[in-house]
Subunit: 678 residues, 2 copies
Amino acid sequence: MEFLPGVFRFRFGQPENGTPSQQMYVKPPRREAMAELPHAEPPFDASQIKFTVSRRGCRLELPLTSGEDIYGLGLNLKSLRHTGKKRTLRVNSDPATDTGDSHAPAPLYFTTAGYGVLVDTARYASFYCGGNAHLNPKEETRAPEQGGVKLSEAELYALDSSASAPMVIDIPAAPGVDLYLFTGPALLDAVRRYVLFTGGGALPPEWGLGCWYRTCGASDAAQVLAMAKELRDKSIPCDVLGLEPGWQSKAYSCSFKWSPERFPQPDRTVAALNNMGYHVNLWEHLFTHPTSPIYRDLVPYSGDFKVWDGAVPDLTLAPASECFASYHARTFTSRGISSFKLDECDNSDFISSPWSFPECSQFPSGQDGETMHSMLGMLYMETIGRACRKSNIRTYGSVRNAHAFAPPQPFVLYSDLYDHAEFIRGVTTCGFSGMLWTPELRHAVSPEDYLRRLQAMVLSPQMLLNIWSMPHPPWRQLRRELNSAGEFYPEEEQLRLEKATRDILELRMRFLPYLYAAFAEYSFHGTPPFRALTMDVPDDPRLRDVDYAWMAGDRLLAVPFRAGMTELTVPLPEGDWYDFHTGEKYTGEVTLRPAPEELPILVKGSAVVPLAEPVPHITDGMKFKLRLKCFGDAPRPARLFADDGFSFAYENETPRWGEVRADGTLSPELAARYEVLP
Amino acid sequence: MEFLPGVFRFRFGQPENGTPSQQMYVKPPRREAMAELPHAEPPFDASQIKFTVSRRGCRLELPLTSGEDIYGLGLNLKSLRHTGKKRTLRVNSDPATDTGDSHAPAPLYFTTAGYGVLVDTARYASFYCGGNAHLNPKEETRAPEQGGVKLSEAELYALDSSASAPMVIDIPAAPGVDLYLFTGPALLDAVRRYVLFTGGGALPPEWGLGCWYRTCGASDAAQVLAMAKELRDKSIPCDVLGLEPGWQSKAYSCSFKWSPERFPQPDRTVAALNNMGYHVNLWEHLFTHPTSPIYRDLVPYSGDFKVWDGAVPDLTLAPASECFASYHARTFTSRGISSFKLDECDNSDFISSPWSFPECSQFPSGQDGETMHSMLGMLYMETIGRACRKSNIRTYGSVRNAHAFAPPQPFVLYSDLYDHAEFIRGVTTCGFSGMLWTPELRHAVSPEDYLRRLQAMVLSPQMLLNIWSMPHPPWRQLRRELNSAGEFYPEEEQLRLEKATRDILELRMRFLPYLYAAFAEYSFHGTPPFRALTMDVPDDPRLRDVDYAWMAGDRLLAVPFRAGMTELTVPLPEGDWYDFHTGEKYTGEVTLRPAPEELPILVKGSAVVPLAEPVPHITDGMKFKLRLKCFGDAPRPARLFADDGFSFAYENETPRWGEVRADGTLSPELAARYEVLP
């Protein structure tokens, strides 16, 4: 049945309790925006979906057509396209191979045929994406026998072709399941429909799209304040300072109390940071140490296994979730804290020191460890988001797990894994599941690696220098031991890296209004701000495996380079493209050879790109001074969004969209927040 | 309840159909041998085992004591000791990380406290081996808070200690399960009890313990015969020649028909090989191609998905199994074939060209793909073993999957993976599950690597040169491209490597009576022929992680070196140990520095080691000429076993055990098969 405009729901068997839709469908769908999308017939109807159920769980089979490529299934660091592969949605923070293991898997895929499917389950489902054909007892015995003998495993194992193989979905334990089908007609329309269905994408506050710096985990208040001052003194843009585990009296598991040794006067420290224009982000995870003030209250509502000696609160239960949220509001968000880093809500069960609760854990609500692992990040975001809202804070934070219904949650995924190609790929895969991901900087093996890693974040969901393991800024010394020992680069090299850092961070700040508008588009119309090229142009087979470049907003293509790369040829969708830096025009493809300090960016078609004059940090309601870069003969105006940029007021007012035109004029809606410099 | 002497069975809930014991408990237990083992009280009783069941499956919790170390869970290439880890028994041929993924997982563990537990399930169960402690709501709030701040993930994630954490077993789907407890008192007694419970270990024919050579997959009959002749001409010991996929008219999937191009007169070819003293082994897998003569008969008894376009016969059903076995007897085992390589009965679902059937497949018997994957190797071995027995052939073969109840099956596990440390480790892990594993030679990156890899097999279940990808013997050229092009090493180097190969293979042949006796001990008394040191001496903490050396039989310790190693210090169990080559005595530990041509072997205590004069191949019922190596002051006699070495006669006669003494005398039971040379 048509559940919402262009969204069909099919019910098979009797769905279990605690599915993503039951737990996390927390925002009303944006029905009007969905209705505005073009109409498309569903690619198949319920009669073409095969369903069987057994004690083992249920199995769904959906038709696939030849040449149809599969994307999605959550954050995927190992691959973009899933066609022919098996993916098991196991929550795991250390995926070593291309299995579907992920910080943030999601039972949701989209295809180049222009539709999407959400399987409403929190189980570790497996998706066989068209690689397994059925035995057909009536099939003719095929004539061709063996030609040449093959002498490598790769040749032996390669399957001829299996055009007729279906999508097979294996859902453990569940006696039934709801399936949601999102129609196109275009692939991007289907993605938009999903995002709008979940309530629309997150709209971060402007400060959230600024620059982030996480300070050393061992820092005390004085050291944090000194770092805050150093950043301002050096004019390194920074909106958010993050504190790592050392802020707590006990971490691993968490007390959620300030360390009396390191932060004896937290209110004073936080106020000092706020006064310097910083938002403060606190690291935590939800495993609650016995010394925490909320431990006793949470224990009756916790799972039956401990993690790092801490209780695991069952956030599906109101008493636990409300205890957690109220404590955070009372202790933190009402006292100058506006953001959190929600660590380790994924699962790491196969490393040398495995952690988190077993999948067979039992929670007081009746949830088990498997479904709880799938939903833990979502529940945690919702709880912390509520704490922030209690203090009227529109937050933007970090999280290590997400699932279906992620789009409205204002949190960005990150990882301890650190392969740069994978970090870049993550941006291209995330959009298909309405998730946000940052290819954060933690450390770098060389100045080149450092600059490339910084650049990869400029047009990403979050610009984050996570310097948790070093006491001094990375531009003074990249090697941890030396940095810790205060052994810095020669002055000249420090200054070179400091300047390069400032330039890259200022580039981020220049793009901030453009990115903010892309997020507003995500929120109101469902278009992910960062998208694999194939999402926009699924019919171009050259683009289907492009996992190293992405569209940011409607007109920019980011092609971050990695250390060691000197040249890259990128296929371009039809039309004219312009080099952002030189203005040179390309069609068909472009071969890039950027300088080490330069992030390659291409502009789609003749267009205006508005750039803000960089500021060290955002101020609530500030007015952005824009300079325009115009490309081509008839530059399309840029759309910007002009709410106050920090409060929830935008939820109840007519969206303030407006245009910036090549001639420097602005729509009146934008006047309060933007001016164009001559 | 005490099910068999020292074996207790506990039933929880209602076990499902198709468990390992229901399908593969095919040999009667060796009850008398079990009764002869020393008595031990069970370490816990049923009341101490916690059981819960839900639609998700069932959960068992068994007590563990502090310092108790966990071993087993099948073939494990990634680690020997499982304490504190999670292991999921997923059948997978490409385990990349230490998760429990394995060609041959088994729901069976043993601990240093001297007992074993078999969980009778074919599900992909997870074992949390003491790493997860329960939340105790009554626990005192613990005082200690954070000391120093940690600045690495390894430090952060390390758990203090969890002495009180249980073994938690998570079994999907099953509404209940039987659990078998094997008492000690010693760890080795518990392992023996398990092996005897399953019917006793496999006793290969003597020829199976000789040397194996797999010929190039592209070879035709003339080329195979030429290789057979070359091995004899060069006096390279070889008992079994293996033919790779090219012998079939169609492989991937299989026709089970001889290729009319490459093997136009198979009976004549096989007879010629037999006449040269070779046993012939045929590669196959069970996925049956439409052009196979048995395809039409198998289709009605096959799973609902194809693999490589072939049907997957449901070997739990008599019509399928009997069709398969009869065809093999009729076509192969009655016509000179005595051994098979059962490939790809595991599962490879996450590689770039994934293969095998989905875990949600449905089979006509009611089994699903998950349980079928667990049992596929066992069912396949049983079926092929039946074909051999129809032709009165006591076989020894190769297989890529096994599970519980593996001990009586005369098949050796192998892998496409090729890390030498992992290959060596496999020998140490396999014994805990009553499985056999060969660190086969496929190729080598250098002559040193080649010799080290050969040496590692001398005291292993199978001495196998798997030269399937090269037309010429490896001692002529190790690099595949050059070998294929006929570009060989200089004559002198060829001769050096040929001689070194011959020496190593002849060393294998010298140990053959000793190894055969170790297998007879396995068969009649349950002692695995190859054992991690810790299995024999669990109380010595220095030995618990020794995954690079193993006991072979009762008195030899093999310490294979890998390429690049020059020196290794090995902790030795209490008592005197002797260098096999020099006779030097060691206690406590030994530092080894073997020459590249030398496999380090240590002899336990003062002992006789009987060595056979090498022969190019075993002849049925032949008489072995022994030379004795004696170590220490009062060498313990060696036990040998003297059935005919090739038929099933031993099953119905009094076991013919006898002693070889340091003075060169023999027990009369041995006289027909052995003589001692002066």
